[in-house]
Amino acid sequence: VNKIYAFIVIIPLIATFLFKSLAFYDFDTKQRYIKNAVDNTAHKVMITGVMTASDRDSLLNELRKLGNFEEESIVLKSGYMDQGALSWLEPYTLGNVLDRGEIFSIYVQSWKGSMISEMERNTADENSRLYFKASAVCRIEKKQENL
């Protein structure tokens, strides 16, 4: 067997591994950063009791650096808790001041699948896509004076 034929087999295999590793690294790193961004925002709301439009914009800016995110990609909800049981969460309006004990939830999902999803996906099935997503559910700590 000539060495050339050997390389014809080996080089594409190495290239495939290289691209798959890169795609996985890309997904893993970005996913961690996205979760961190969501957690930072959730902590801010947990301490202050409110999420302003500028908070949402700065979160969106951060998310846009990492993936394909639009305003609709961020879902905000709030609700109550009674004796440890969580109530049904309702959509949260930006700037709405929440009191101590209330629940706040953020969920983000990219509208386009990640690079690894595009590489691995065999069918046009939407469910097989791997999106960047992260969520955080927290309880407000700040007792509001003016409520």
């Binding site: 000539n2 808790m81 309880r139």
Partner: protein
């Protein structure tokens, strides 16, 4: 058998020919190349597996943070007091006497917030220990609830005795099957994390985290004060 022998020899010759320099030596390159690729593949899968584990462990750790801070709010009704009753009139210190975290509702709060933030695991309540602490007549009153059992209450003279109390409970409940992790509250008579106040401590024993192919176990603990309001 003869035919088999011939076939074996035929393949052996072909193999030798493939390795020989005269015929290009490509087979050797191919075999070494495939071996290297296989090694790279194994390494890659291991790295990916560990990476998924650390990501999920971070998720569980964040979930623990949200759950304990939420559970710490399950305090008794008299917690929000004004200046006259909320502070000592001589020293000006916050008075936290008798303010307790309700252990039953704090466990429920913990479980609902934890499961919202970390959806992977079922049966967290089986591996959970919650300890709430409050002061009563200059003593430390504690209440410990393990898994689905009922809460054990008691009193301690000094705050540093709590660490041993929690560790003894962990050993008594989970110590028979395996060696459970120990909790450190940095406690000794000189310095400790616990003060005489209203606190909550949560410990999750052997939380199973499923990765690419491995199932690793990790124990998490979190400790926080009740952040009682004084207006």
């Amino acid at each position: 058998l003869k035919r088999n022998k011939r076939t074996y020899k035929y393949y052996l010759n072909l193999f030798k020919k493939g390795l020989s320099d005269k015929t290009g030596g490509g087979l050797g390159v191919l075999l070494i190349g495939l071996a290297v690729i296989f090694l790279v593949f194994i390494t890659f899968v291991n790295i990916a597996d560990y990476s998924i584990f650390t990501y999920k462990r971070n998720l569980a750790s964040k979930a623990m943070d949200y759950a304990v801070t939420a559970a710490a709010q399950q305090i008794s009704e008299n917690a929000s007091a004004g200046l006259a009753v909320g502070f000592d009139e001589v020293t000006g210190k916050k008075l936290l006497e008798g303010i307790e975290i309700d252990i039953e509702s704090s466990v429920n709060t913990f479980l609902s917030i934890f499961s919202k933030n970390y959806k992977e695991v079922v049966g967290v309540d089986e591996n959970l220990l919650i300890c709430v602490i409050s002061t009563y007549k200059n003593k430390l009153r504690y209440s410990i609830k393990v898994a689905n059992g009922s809460a054990i209450t008691g009193e301690l003279q000094e705050t540093y005795e709590l660490e041993e109390k929690i560790n003894r409970t962990i050993k008594a409940y989970w110590g028979t099957n395996n060696d459970p992790g120990l909790v450190y509250l940095n406690e000794n008579p000189k310095t400790n994390e616990v003060e005489k106040g209203t606190y909550i401590f949560a410990y999750l024993n052997d939380l199973e985290i499923k990765s690419l192919y491995s199932h690793r176990k990790t124990s998490l603990s979190y400790f926080t004060g009740a952040k009682i309001q004084r207006e």
